[in-house]
C-alpha cells in the first residue's frame, strides 16, 4: 500500500523511541467506514473487504453492531487495517474511506470523514419510519452536499440498477464493492474475486463475480 497523505498513528510500543520516519513506514492504519440499512448486505461487503486485506497480510479489525439491525435499523461497520491495529472503532473524524449504501446513511456520517477522504455512495433512498409517516423530511441533495466538501473525491453509482441488469438486485452490495475496489489500486482484481468466492457458496460465484467486475467498471 502506498498512501502518502494519511495521518500517521504511532501504535507500536517500541516504535515510539524510534525515529518518526520509521514509524510512518510501519504504523499506518487505514480507516474504512461502511453504513447502510439492515438488509442491504453491508455485512457481506465488509466481510469481503476484511478478507482481502487480511489475506494481504495486514492486521485488521472489523467491528459492527448486530442485534436490532435486521429490523430495518441503520447498520455500520468500522473496518481498519494496518501494521498493528488497536481500537476496533475508528476515531470520529478519522475516516479515510466511506462506503455508504444509502443517501441518508451517508449523510449521517459526513462529519466522520477526513478532509482528504474518499466517498462512494449508492444511489438509493430508503425512507425511515418518520419520513414514511410524513413527520420528517428525507434530506435532499445529498450528493451535492458531499461534493461541496469533498469535491472530486465523491462517487455515486446505482448499485441496484447494475445488479438488476445482471439478473439479481441482491448483488448490489457486491457491485458496490467492485466500484469501491478502485480506491485501492495496489490490490489486484484476482484478490477481490478470490475473497468473494471464499465467502459465498459456489452457486453464487458466477453472479457475484460479474457483479464485482461490473461495479469495478462503473467508476
Amino acid at each position: 500500500m502506498k498512501k502518502t497523505k494519511k495521518t500517521i498513528k504511532k501504535p507500536v510500543k517500541k516504535a515510539i523511541k524510534k525515529p518518526v520516519k520509521k514509524v510512518q513506514e510501519d504504523g499506518k492504519t487505514v480507516n474504512i467506514f461502511l453504513s447502510g440499512v439492515g438488509g442491504q448486505g453491508t455485512i457481506l461487503a465488509s466481510n469481503i473487504l476484511a478478507e482481502v486485506f487480511f489475506k494481504a497480510g495486514y492486521d485488521i479489525k472489523k467491528s459492527e453492531v448486530h442485534g436490532m439491525a435486521q429490523r430495518g435499523g441503520d447498520v455500520t461497520t468500522h473496518f481498519r487495517f494496518g501494521k498493528k491495529v488497536y481500537s476496533p472503532l475508528i476515531k470520529y473524524g478519522d475516516v479515510d474511506f466511506l462506503l455508504s449504501f444509502e443517501f441518508l446513511e451517508a449523510l449521517r456520517y459526513i462529519n466522520w470523514i477526513k478532509p482528504t477522504g474518499k466517498i462512494l455512495i449508492n444511489k438509493q433512498e430508503i425512507y425511515p419510519p418518520a419520513v414514511n409517516l410524513g413527520m420528517a423530511q428525507y434530506p435532499g441533495g445529498v450528493e451535492e452536499i458531499f461534493k461541496k466538501f469533498f469535491k472530486e473525491n465523491v462517487y455515486v453509482i446505482n448499485g441496484q440498477e447494475i445488479a438488476r441488469n445482471l439478473g439479481n438486485v441482491q448483488a448490489a452490495n457486491v457491485v458496490l464493492i467492485g466500484a469501491f475496489s478502485n480506491f485501492f489500486p495496489e490490490v489486484k482484481e484476482e484478490q477481490w474475486i478470490e475473497a468473494i468466492k471464499g465467502l459465498l457458496a459456489p452457486k453464487l460465484h458466477d453472479l457475484n463475480v460479474r457483479a464485482f467486475t461490473e461495479g469495478r467498471k462503473a467508476l
Binding site: 498513528k9 504511532k10 510500543k13 440499512v37 439492515g38 448486505g41 457481506l44 476484511a50 478478507e51 487480511f54 489475506k55 497480510g57 492486521d59 485488521i60 479489525k61 472489523k62 467491528s63 459492527e64 453492531v65 448486530h66 442485534g67 436490532m68 429490523r71 430495518g72 435499523g73 441503520d74 491495529v85 488497536y86 481500537s87 476496533p88 472503532l89 476515531k91 470520529y92 473524524g93 441518508l104 446513511e105 449523510l107 449521517r108 459526513i110 462529519n111 466522520w112 425512507y127 425511515p128 419510519p129 418518520a130 419520513v131 414514511n132 409517516l133 410524513g134 420528517a136 428525507y138 434530506p139 452536499i145 466538501f149 438486485v169 468466492k197 471464499g198 465467502l199 457458496a201 459456489p202
Partner: protein, 620 residues
C-alpha cells in the same frame, strides 16, 4: 443472513507461518472452548453473545451443544457436566447472568471438578438490551475470578486459560466480553484441540462438597475466602496482566477494549492492562505506581477498578471524574475526556440532530403488527416483554406500555389486576413471545391461576426466537443442531397449569383478534390467548408467506383519499407522498400513500384498515 464460509478457503488463510484466521470474538470463544477440550456447551441467546453457541453447534461436533430454555438452566446443566468431570461452558448476555446468578453464587462455594466457565457479554450503550449493567460486579459479589479479553485472539487464549484456572483453583471462572469484543473480527492463531486431563465420573463421597446445607456451607465459605487469597497471589503472576512502560509521567490502568481505545489515542503513556479484572494483582499495581508518577484509570461503565485501587490506598490522578460512567467508550470519548479543552473536535459539516433517525421496526408482514394494532384500537394497557414485539412500543403503534425483563409481562399484568380489582377488567393484558414465555413466563402464568387472578396473557408464537437472530427453543421442534425434537404445545401447557379459558387467534385477522382479546380481558378469570399460524416472516422454513392470498398489495390511486389510516400500522412498506389533488369520488386530499412492492409481502393488514377500498391486490 448467515454467510457461507467455505472450509477449504478458511483453512488456507496462512499468515507468517502460523495458521491464522480472521474471527469474530464470539467465534474465537467457540474455538477456544473447542481447543480447551470442552465437552458441554450451553447457552440462552442474547446479543452480543448468541453466535458463540451457534458457532460451536455448526463447527465443533466434539462438543455437545444446547440452547437451554434460560440462562439459569444453562448454568445448571454446565455445572452438572463439570461436577461429572467434563469441561463445560455456559454463555449468555449480561442480564442473563442475573437470571443465572442463583446457581452461580453457590457454585463459587461448591467449586467444580471439570473446568466451568461462564461467559458473560456486556452491552455498553444498551444497543439491544433492557439495561447497561457492568458484569464485573458479579465477580466481586460472587467471589469468582473474572478475565476480560480485548480482541479475538485474547478471547480464544483467555477461554483456554479460564479452564486451567477453573480446575487449578476449583472455581467457576467468569469471562467477560462486550459488544466491541464479541462482534469485532481480528486475526487469531489456530491451535489443536487438547482433551482435558480431568477424568470423567461421579463420586458419592464428594457429597459434602456439592451439598450446600448449612454445615457444609460454613466449611465451603472458608474455602472460598482462602481461594480468593490464592487467586490474588496468582493474579500477580498472570501473564496477561501486562505492563508497558513508555512515559514515566502518566500511566494508565485499564482492561479490555478500554485499553485499545486509550492506547490508540495516547500511545505515549505507560500501561497496566489487566487481563484478569478480579481479583486484582496487588503487587503488580504497587509496582506500576512505583514506575509512573501519575495513574489514570480508564474503564467503561462502573468505576470498578478505580474503586478497588483507591481502596488499596492509591490515588487516581484521573478516573471517573473525567471518563463517563455510562454508555460505551470510544477513542474520541477517551481523548475528549482526558484532554478536556485541549481536544479539538473535527469540523461539523452537517448537523446530525436535523436528520431523521432510523430506529428498528417490525418487518413488513410481521405477525406482531396486526396484534398491536388491535390492542391499540381496544385501548388496552399492555404489559410487554422482551423480543421483536417490544418494538410495538414505538410510534405509531405505541401499544406496549411496560418492558422490564424476560417474563415480567405476565406477573406484571396479574399484579396490576390485583391492584385495580374489577376496574381493571377489559383494560389490561400481557403480551409475551414464544421464546420469552418458555424462558420465564410459565412460572408467572402458574401464579395467575394459583392465586385466582383474572389477567389475560397473549403468547405471540412466531415459532422462533426472533429478536436475537432465529434460535430454536423448546417450542420450535428443533435442537440447536436442527435435529427434530418434541415441540411444546402451549394449549396443553396452559391446561396443565389450570387455565380454563384458552383461545387461539390468527392475528392477521384484525376484527377477530379484537373480539377475542376484548372478551378475554373482560372475563373475571385467567385467560390465555395463543397466536397461531403466525410464524416470523423471516423464518423461511415455516413458509410464512404461503397463507397470504396475494403476493403484494398496491394502492388504487384514484380511490385513495389520503386519510393516512393505513400509516397507523407503521409498516415499512407503506409511505406517504405529498401531492394535493382529489380522489375519483371527489374528495380533496393532501397526498396519497404508496406501497413499496419490493418490501410488501401481501399480509393484507393495511387492506383491512382502509375504509375506501383503496388498497387492492397487486402483482410482484
Amino acid at each position: 443472513m448467515k454467510i457461507f464460509y467455505s472450509k477449504k478457503y478458511r483453512a488456507e488463510s496462512h499468515y507468517g507461518g502460523n495458521m491464522k484466521e480472521m474471527m469474530q470474538g464470539n467465534s474465537a470463544i467457540a474455538r477456544g472452548a473447542w481447543e480447551a477440550g470442552v465437552k458441554i456447551a450451553t447457552a440462552y441467546p442474547g446479543t452480543p453473545s448468541s453466535e458463540i453457541l451457534q458457532e460451536i453447534a455448526s463447527n465443533y461436533p466434539e462438543i455437545y451443544a444446547e440452547w437451554s430454555p434460560n440462562e439459569k438452566v444453562a448454568v445448571e446443566v454446565a455445572s452438572g457436566a463439570a461436577i461429572a468431570g467434563a469441561r463445560a461452558m455456559a454463555s449468555m448476555k449480561h442480564v442473563g447472568l442475573n437470571v443465572a446468578s442463583d446457581p452461580f453464587m453457590t457454585l463459587a462455594y461448591t467449586g467444580i471438578k471439570g473446568g466451568l466457565v461462564i461467559l458473560v457479554a456486556d452491552d455498553p450503550n444498551a444497543y439491544s438490551s433492557q439495561n447497561e449493567q457492568d458484569s464485573r460486579n458479579w465477580a466481586r459479589f460472587g467471589k469468582a475470578p473474572m478475565l476480560e479479553p480485548a480482541d479475538a485472539q485474547e478471547c480464544k487464549d483467555f477461554i483456554k486459560i479460564a479452564f486451567e484456572i477453573s480446575e487449578r483453583f476449583d472455581t467457576p471462572v467468569l469471562v467477560r466480553t462486550e459488544t466491541r469484543v464479541a462482534h469485532t473480527d481480528s486475526p487469531v492463531v489456530l491451535e489443536e484441540r487438547k482433551e482435558s486431563p480431568t477424568p470423567l465420573g461421579l463420586d458419592r463421597k464428594d457429597a459434602p462438597k456439592y451439598t450446600m446445607v448449612p454445615i457444609n456451607v460454613r466449611v465451603r465459605r472458608k474455602i472460598v475466602e482462602e481461594r480468593m487469597k490464592k487467586l490474588e497471589a496468582y493474579a500477580d503472576t498472570f501473564k496477561y496482566n501486562t505492563m508497558e512502560i513508555n512515559s514515566r509521567e502518566i500511566g494508565v490502568i485499564t482492561s479490555g477494549v478500554s485499553y485499545l481505545y486509550t492506547k490508540e489515542v495516547f500511545p505515549q503513556y505507560s500501561y497496566l492492562k489487566l487481563g484478569m479484572v478480579w481479583p486484582l494483582p496487588k503487587k503488580t499495581i504497587a509496582n506500576f505506581y512505583k514506575k509512573v508518577k501519575k495513574v489514570i484509570v480508564v474503564e467503561e461503565l462502573d468505576p470498578f477498578l478505580e474503586t478497588e485501587i483507591k481502596a488499596l490506598g492509591y490515588k487516581a490522578f484521573h478516573g471517573k471524574d473525567l471518563i463517563p460512567n455510562m454508555y460505551e467508550l470510544s477513542p474520541e470519548i477517551v481523548e475528549k475526556s482526558l484532554k478536556g479543552k485541549a481536544y479539538k473536535p473535527p469540523k461539523v459539516r452537517v448537523k446530525q440532530d436535523d436528520l431523521p433517525k432510523r430506529p428498528p421496526n417490525m418487518c413488513a408482514g410481521c405477525s406482531h403488527r396486526p396484534l398491536f394494532y388491535a390492542l391499540k384500537k381496544l385501548g388496552a394497557f399492555v404489559f410487554g416483554d422482551i423480543g421483536c414485539y417490544t418494538l410495538g412500543t414505538a410510534p405509531p403503534l405505541q401499544a406496549v406500555h411496560t418492558t422490564i425483563c424476560m417474563g415480567a409481562s405476565i406477573g406484571g399484568a396479574h399484579g396490576a389486576m390485583k391492584a385495580l380489582g374489577s376496574d381493571g377488567l377489559g383494560k389490561v393484558c400481557a403480551v409475551i413471545g414464544d421464546s420469552t414465555f418458555l424462558h420465564g413466563g410459565v412460572g408467572p402464568l402458574m401464579d395467575v391461576v394459583y392465586n385466582k387472578g383474572n389477567s389475560t396473557t397473549i403468547i405471540l408464537d412466531n415459532r422462533i426466537t426472533g429478536m436475537t437472530g432465529h434460535q430454536d427453543h423448546p417450542g420450535t421442534g428443533f435442537t440447536v443442531r436442527m435435529e427434530p425434537t418434541h415441540a411444546i404445545d402451549y394449549e396443553e401447557l396452559g391446561k396443565a397449569l389450570g387455565v380454563k379459558s384458552i383461545r387461539k387467534i390468527y392475528p392477521y385477522n384484525i376484527q377477530q383478534t379484537m373480539e377475542v382479546v376484548k372478551e378475554e380481558m373482560e372475563k373475571d378469570e385467567p385467560s390465555l390467548i395463543i397466536c397461531e399460524n403466525s410464524p416470523c416472516i423471516m423464518l423461511r422454513r415455516a413458509k410464512p408467506m404461503e397463507k397470504f392470498a396475494h403476493p403484494v398489495y398496491t394502492i388504487n390511486k384514484e380511490k385513495c383519499r389520503g386519510c393516512k389510516m393505513c400509516l397507523e400500522i407503521g409498516c415499512p412498506a407503506i409511505s406517504w407522498e405529498e401531492e394535493e389533488g382529489m380522489s375519483v369520488d371527489g374528495h380533496k386530499r393532501k397526498g396519497t400513500v404508496f406501497i413499496n412492492k419490493d418490501m410488501c409481502v401481501g399480509c393484507e393488514v393495511c387492506a383491512q384498515i382502509c375504509k375506501f377500498e383503496a388498497i387492492i391486490p397487486g402483482t410482484k
